[in-house]
Symmetry: C2
Subunit: 330 residues, 2 copies
DNA sequence: CTGAAAGCGCTTACAG
DNA sequence: CTGAAAGCGCTTACAG
């Protein structure tokens, strides 16, 4: 290449990188040779030399879930104006997650990391740190890593209070199974639920609090069980829209009218929620991804990141699945 | 590193790659040094040396669409057992697409390419070919590249025939805008629609065939216009579920009952479709991604790919949004 | 079984 | 403004 152009390698490099200090005639010669050879510079060699890959890694479990996808979309949007490409690590098991971090903490696969809806172990975080890999957490918090989150306790309380204000006293909660990915929002939403009950002076009924994997199917059978209790709840707060949809299905299949006989509140406000008229707590999914992407880009740009929590706003969106409880007794 | 262990670099490399011909004692020394130094081998250097990156690029426009995401999920599933990582190129504009291919056709960013729901120009394909980059097309066809597709003409015909068999004669079609990404399935579905009408001896009414960008919002207003024609259609076939949902909204907001007064058929069978009971033509979105991934992995494994079309099956899923037309006249 | 050396293809001081 | 040379950190014949 350099030979054909009759110049040194350094000059080719200068031309390729658009440096100023090259004489026009020389530049022309190089450009000509590039054309003649259909020459394509190697990004790998460049990466090795520069120690940068121009890749941002995104680690996300639950890529099968609408909310995770929505966050990834936000990340994609944030990166779209940047020179970085996105490498996606879908880690649907702890094993896959471990492997992903083992690859990433070598430090030369990506220049930075966005970790979504999962919290690496402290050992993993320590290795990422020693690999000098800037990280931003989205939908997970850690005191030593910048993160963008929502206040799940407040969200759980918001949803529950809405039901209480409508007059409900028998309010059930369908949460997630304990955090396989050290993922604690479901627990926080439970706390919010309990706090709302407590503040309203309502008793907590342990059999009204149920957990299951985050799927419509499972939530549907949990809801079915709740609805066949001797004293069934008049309202259900589900820790995610997906689960709320399952609850709606359970009601529908038993001929229970919503919201006349049963109120249902979800969490997230995924796209379907608006379509089916689900009352829910909206969290800015897309925005959280975008914001995380922005923070990381800023860090990559040399501005050091403070390890703080950026708390995104939550909003109760009242639609058609909540109303006053059926008039008790008669 | 090699120094600390008191061995040559080659030996370190052998240990790292688990080659057999290393004496156990030597191996131990190396392993010990690795531990002591917290040594992490560089994948970039390895890539440069080997000429392989262990990365598969996925080019996908419309990552904002549920169907694209579903395909990507299938790809993720296919790669999950492999040693390849996934690099995602969301190309929501022609310009981004051009840039993505310019990066990829250097040939050292990824070892293979999955191109989803878009067809590169011939010039782009030629450059990918000279870069020796194996490609598989998903949801796009090209005679010289292996691809996995569905028969969109047959699908369009299937949906339309269903409506005809129910007794409809005034059937409208909401398609996509002309293919920004050289993306022709909407046109093919239109052809299928027209063919079904023709075979049934029904007249084609040009004002019943409308196009709009693939969004619920746009489809909704198109449907609203169709429904306010002097002689409105009794059935609408939409080229995607997203658009079908828009049509349903239009009907709902005008108090038109579905399916009593209006039948609606979609295309894709995205997750929401089942939930809202939409009759649709199911195409195996997830499967298409998975299959594409498998084909590419096979190619990467040294088995040359024949440039053939793998046609995935289409299936009419009849649910609650289609029925006989309202009994005419009275 | 093991090591010295060349090679992968860039970038970047360092001299001119 | 430009080139020779070293360096980024691996792998792989080639000798021993």
């Amino acid at each position: 290449m350099a030979a054909l152009a009759g110049v040194g390698e350094a000059t080719v490099s200068r031309v390729l990188n658009g440096r100023a200090n090259v004489r026009p005639a020389t530049r022309e010669k190089v450009l000509e040779a590039i054309r003649a050879l259909d020459y394509r510079p190697s990004s790998v060699a460049r990466s090795l030399s520069l120690g940068r890959t121009m890749v941002i890694g995104v680690v996300v479990p639950w890529f099968t879930h609408a909310s995770a996808v929505e966050r990834v979309r936000g990340i994609v949007a944030a990166l779209s104006g940047s020179p970085y490409e996105l490498m996606l690590f879908d880690v649907e098991s702890e094993d896959r997650q471990r492997r992903a971090f083992e690859l990433l903490d070598r430090g030369d696969r990506a220049d930075g990391l966005l970790i979504v809806s999962t919290l690496p172990t402290d050992a993993q975080l320590e290795r990422l740190r020693t690999a000098l890999l800037p990280c931003v957490l989205v939908d997970a918090r850690h005191e030593s890593i910048p993160n963008v989150v929502v206040d799940d306790v407040a969200g759980g309380e918001m949803a529950t209070r809405h039901l209480i204000e409508l007059g409900h006293t028998r309010i059930a909660f369908i949460g997630d199974t304990p955090p396989e990915f050290r993922f604690e929002w479901s627990r926080d939403r439970t706390l919010g639920y309990e706090r709302a009950l407590e503040r309203a002076g309502l008793e907590r009924r342990p059999h009204y609090v149920r957990e299951g994997t985050r799927s419509r199917h499972v939530a549907r059978s949990i809801a079915a069980e709740l609805l066949s209790l001797d004293e069934p709840p008049t309202a259900i707060f589900a820790a995610s829209d997906t689960q709320a949809l399952g609850a709606l299905e359970a009601a529908r299949s038993r001929g229970i009218r919503v919201p006349d006989q049963l109120s249902v509140v979800g969490f997230d406000d995924v796209e379907v929620a608006a379509y089916v008229g689900l009352t829910t707590v909206r969290q800015p999914l897309f925005e959280s991804g975008r914001r995380g992407g922005e923070l990381l880009l800023r860090a990559l740009d040399g501005h050091p990141l403070a390890a703080h929590s950026e708390v995104m706003p939550l909003e109760l969106v009242v639609r058609g699945t909540t109303g006053p409880p059926p008039t008790a007794v008669a």
